[in-house]
Structure formats: C-alpha cells, structure tokens
C-alpha cells in the first residue's frame, strides 16, 4: 500500500474510533451511567432494615467520585496519601475530582437533575458547606433519611447537639451532610514589617489611615473576601458594617479603586510586601504559604481580640449518586479518629477536628495558632448573597 494511502486509512480508522469513543462516552473515569444497584442497600440501611456491614460489602470494588476544592495542595496530599490507602483497605477507590469552586460540583448535580437524571450521577461526594449546601437542600438534591447521623463513627464521635455542627450557616443539617473539618478565619502579618498587628476593627481602620494603601481584602463574591465582609457585619451589624467599609475604602490599596480578585492574589500581594495583612479561612494557610515560598519566614498568624469567624465543613452525597454505598463508607471513614487526628497534626494539615472526644494536638509551629479565641458564628446562608451584592453596589463599584 502506498504511504499516503496507509496514512489515509490510519487517519480514517482513528476518526471512526474517536467517534465511537465520543458517542460511548468512554475514557472518562469520572462518570458511570449505569445504576450500581446499591441504592436499595443504602435505602434499607437508612431505614434500619439492614446492618452497616451490608453497605460496606456493597461498596467493595467501587470508585467514589469525590468532587472538592482542589487548590490546597496539602488537603490533596492528605486525601491521596492518608485517606486513600485506608479506603483501599475497604475496597474503595477515591477519584478526587478537583474543582476551583464547590459551586461547580453543585452545578453539575443541578444540571443532571434538570435533565431528569435521577441515578448514575457523575458526583458521589462533595466537600461542601454554607450557601452551596443550602441551595442543594432547598432543591432536594441531597441524599436524605438523616444518613449522616446514622454513620457508625458519627454515632460514636460526633456531637450532633453542637449547634456549630447541626446547623450549617444557620441552615439545619438534618443529617444530609456529615461533618469533616473545622475552619477559622485567620489573619497573617509580617513580623519583620509590623511589630503589632491591629486586633480590632477600629485598630485596623486606624492602621489603614496611618499607612494608606497597605490594607486590602479580596472582592466578594470571592470566598475569603466575602468572609471578611461577613466578619465585619457580625461585629458591627449590617448598616454600620457598610459604613465602616466605605470609610475604610479610600485608605485601602489603590484607594479602593481595585481589589484583589482572590485570596491567592491577596496572599501574593502580602508576600511581595505590597500590603501588610492577608487572611484565610484555612487556619494553616500561613504555614502552607511559608512552605510554598509565597510568604517570608517572618510571617505570623493572628486573630482579632474578639474572636474570629468559625465554621464546620461537611461532605454530602447527591441523591442521584452512582455509588452511594461507597460514598457512605468514605464519609464514615473520614470521621475515623485516627484520620481526624492526622488531619489535626500540624505536620499534615493542622486543621481542628470535628470529633468531640479527640484532643487537638499541641501546636508546635509558629505558623499555627493554638487558640482561635471566641468563636464568632457565621451569618445565615440566606444573608450571604444579599451582602455580597450590597458590597458590589456600595463599596466595590
């Protein structure tokens, strides 16, 4: 066969194969269109008609498509290197689907629901809280029957009477999500540049006036920027908070004509010395940033004197998940006291545990806080979007 004909035949064959792949939807490890038949097992278990062992047995050999924020390298390492092997022992494989924003995962479930896909969904488990959970709950997207309260490890270790656990940004959890992690809004300053950071909002305003252009925060609806605005609202009330932010604006970076688009951008600006403070809902972010070289070694964490915003984050299972049994087993595994202890270890993640009977290990790092002060509860989920929009109208434009 002449060379160009051979090429032609190869190209045509490749095209046909590619077309078949396209139509069949093969090559994607992230979805399964077939019902696994485990939903009956799950239903029986949640109804109390079948023991937990049937769920564990049913989950063997399954892959859990766990959609979660993928921008934190240490969390990814914890899941891959610590949780993954333990899941393998139970016969489960974790397929970590990194997303830039949890809303992407919820959007996927919404899209499937709109298209009438009630089983075999692409998403088995989501790391979630707040507004995203509330939206999904409102649309009845999550697995029900209070599955989270029935997990064996939850029964043993989770205090469901704790309002920080049974309510997620003011929305009743109703067992539709299982707690996984705690977070606190932590600030950073550079001890080489700033001797004493401002620990009250008044002190922050005074600092900004004395050092114009050295203070800023990410623009909502960025997660961290929104958290800062919510913190100010919790301290001052909504109207006074916006008066405060408007008073602060001309003394912020670029006289408030521009704001960093994300926490990452703020971190870079802080690391470069453009501004004097950064903050994050990740309590170990200073240590991560020092390790990645974004912050100088002289960076230190701090929290305001009156305490800081705290919240609990969870994992939830969509009602159309393709592998609900495996997702349940993984959610239960995440509450294992060994895994939670490792997560709290500063050498791994340094994130506080959600288990009631697990002591938080002593923090032996200058980049981690041992005490976050008095916890300031978050605003209700329904208030978040209106506050972000008000910021956009009154401060951001």
């Amino acid at each position: 066969m002449k060379p160009h004909r051979t090429l032609t035949v190869i190209a045509l064959t490749a095209s046909i194969v590619a077309s078949v792949l396209l139509v069949a939807g093969c090559g994607s490890s992230q979805t399964s269109s077939t019902s696994t038949g485990t939903s009956d097992v799950v239903t029986s278990w949640t109804a109390g008609d079948a023991p937990w062992s049937t769920v564990v047995q049913s989950a063997k050999g399954q892959t859990v498509n766990w959609w979660l924020y993928g921008g934190d390298d240490r969390i990814n390492a914890y899941i891959d290197d610590v949780v993954g092997p333990r899941a393998k022992q139970l016969g489960i494989t974790i397929n970590r689907v990194p997303v830039d924003d949890t809303a992407t995962a919820v959007s996927k479930v919404v899209v499937e629901a709109r298209a009438g896909k009630s089983s075999g969904g692409a998403v088995d488990l989501i790391w979630i809280n707040g507004e995203n959970f509330a939206s999904g709950k409102q649309a009845q997207l999550w697995l029900g029957d209070s599955w989270a309260t029935k997990l064996p490890n939850a029964v043993l270790h989770v205090d469901w009477s704790d309002p920080s656990i049974n309510r997620d940004l003011g929305v009743a959890v109703d067992g539709q999500e299982s707690p996984w992690s705690r977070a606190a809004l932590v600030w950073a300053y550079d001890s080489a540049r700033t001797t004493e950071p401002p620990r009250t909002l008044d002190a922050l305003l005074t600092y900004a006036k004395r050092h114009p252009g050295r203070v800023t925060y990410p623009a909502p609806p960025d997660f961290t920027g929104s958290a800062f605005v919510r913190y100010v609202v919790t301290q001052l009330g909504e109207d006074r908070a916006f008066a405060y932010l408007k008073e602060l604006k001309p003394y912020t970076w670029r006289q408030g004509s521009a704001y960093p688009k994300s926490e990452a951008e703020l971190n870079q600006m802080f690391g470069n010395g453009t501004v004097d403070f950064a903050f994050s809902y990740d309590p170990s972010f200073v240590e991560s940033a020092v390790r990645s070289g974004t912050f100088a070694k002289s960076a230190r964490p701090f929290v305001p004197m009156s305490g800081t915003l705290t919240n609990v984050s969870y994992v939830t299972i969509p009602s159309n998940a393709a592998h609900p049994a495996a997702a349940l087993v993984l959610a239960n595994l995440l509450l294992d006291s060994d895994l939670q202890a490792k997560k709290a270890d500063p050498a791994v993640l340094g994130v506080p545990t959600v288990l009631r009977d697990l002591a938080t290990p002593a923090q032996h790092s200058q980049y981690l806080l041992a005490n976050f002060g008095a916890p300031v509860p978050e605003l209700a989920a329904a208030k978040v979007a209106p506050i972000e929009q008000r910021w956009k109208r009154e401060v951001g434009s």
Partner: protein, 258 residues
C-alpha cells in the same frame, strides 16, 4: 529599495521576536524551579522542585492526558466531518454551499459562554454520558469552524476534475474520499487537524462553564497562577510544549497567484 528595507525591518522584528520568545522560555523555566520568588527581587530567594512536586501531586499527568485525548478526538472528529462536508459543498449549488458554510463557520463567531452553559444540560439530554464526551461536544463546533476556514478555498480545479473522473469511472464516494480527495489535500488536512487540536487544547471558557468536572490543563492552570506560581509555570510549560510541537507540522501556505 523598498524590498530591501522591508526585509531588513522584517529581519529585525524576527530577531527581536525570537529574543522575546527565548526570554519567555527562560523566565518560565526559572519560575518553575523557584521555590520562592517574591517581588521585587530579581532572582529567586530559593530554588528547588517544590513547583514540580505540587504540579505532579495535583495530577498534572492526568490533566495532561485528558487534555491531549479531548483535543485529539475533537480534531479528528471535526476533521472528518469538515472534510466530508467540504467534499460535497464544493460541488453544490451556490445556495446550498453558502448555507453549509454558514452552518459550519458561524460557531467561530459565537460566545463560548452561551454554548457552554446550554451544552451542560443539552449534552445530558442527548445522552452524552461521559465528561470527556460532553467536553468534546462543546469544543466541536469551534474546532470545526476553524477547520472549515482552513479548508475553504483549498479545493482547486485540478482536484475537482480528478474527483469527477474517478466518479465517472465508477469509484464510490468513500473510495473517492480515501484515494483521491484526502491524498490531494493532505497538507491542508494536516493543517486543519493541527489547528483543530490547538483550538480544543486551549479551551477554557467552554470547558469551565459546561461544568462536567473534566480535568484539563487550562482548568488546572488558572487557579494555580497566583496560589502556586511555580506549579503554574510547570503547567504553562506543559501547555506550551504540545502546542508548539503541533505548529511544527503547519507549513507556510504557498503564495497565491494573481
């Protein structure tokens, strides 16, 4: 005189341009191996493999392979469809030809946002199950539009005559495509496939908004740019290498006659 001056200025531009490209590559490589490089320092504060470790831990390989597969499938499927359509379009009546070209080329003018947001639901509705197939479906209109633009005007009279002769001799349409059309257009087809690959390879807007959770390099890169700049430099290099390799198969079109 004009020609000489233009050649001199063209040479200067080429030299400046190549120097810029070399500078960019050098910058990327240094950034990829800089464990800490806070501004305004000219040189990194620390060197190492942290960026590579982060990139690899974040499944750079998986995203790379997914992007490669999606771009290759989109380019091949688009190439076959565009070539098939053009094969008949060149002989069709004026109206049919115009209609076909409009159908094929207009997607290049459409905003990716509307196609992606709608495709998120439409793909599920038409039974596309996998995230990869949905992403290929959302890339395909844009890939085919550009492939059609490349193929437009490449059918010359000689090729058409040879196709007509083959048809007269009783050669069927598929065999004509395989033995006459494709060999006659192989350079242009390679260009169309290469361009289709590049269009899909770099897609971000559509892949993001179709929200399938597909793991592609552009989707991995964007969040990393400020949070992990060294890893982002590694991913940028990973994005650039195949794109630049593909351009090697693209050749300068010959000058058109008067």
């Amino acid at each position: 005189m004009i020609a000489r001056e233009n050649t001199r200025s063209g040479r200067s531009i080429a030299i400046v341009w190549l120097a810029l490209v070399a500078g960019v590559v050098l910058w990327l490589v240094v950034r990829a191996f800089a464990d800490a490089w806070r501004a305004p320092a000219m040189l990194p504060q620390a060197y190492g493999l942290y960026g590579w470790n982060v990139a690899l831990r974040n499944s750079l390989q998986h995203a790379f392979v997914q992007s490669l597969l999606i771009a290759t499938i989109a380019a091949l499927v688009g190439g076959v469809l565009a070539t098939s359509a053009m094969t008949v379009a060149v002989r069709a009546g004026r109206r049919a030809r115009r209609l076909a070209l409009v159908l094929l080329v207009v997607p290049a003018l459409l905003p990716g946002t509307v196609v992606a947001i709608g495709m998120a639901t439409f793909a599920t509705r038409i039974g596309l199950q996998g995230s990869m197939s949905t992403v290929v479906a959302v890339h395909l209109p844009f890939v085919m539009a550009w492939q059609t633009i490349v193929l437009l005007g490449t059918w010359d009279r000689t090729l058409r005559e040879r196709e007509d002769v083959a048809a007269t001799l009783g050669v069927g349409p598929v065999m004509r495509l395989v033995h006459v059309t494709i060999p006659g257009l192989r350079l242009q087809l390679v260009a169309a496939l290469a361009l289709g690959f590049l269009v899909s390879w770099g897609q971000y807007t559509t892949t993001l908004l179709v929200a399938t959770g597909a793991d592609t390099l552009p989707l991995r890169l964007v969040p990393m740019v400020q949070s992990q700049p060294a890893a982002a430099a590694v991913m940028t290099i990973a994005m650039l290498v195949p794109a630049l390799l593909v351009t090697l198969v693209l050749r300068a079109p010959t000058r058109r006659p008067s």
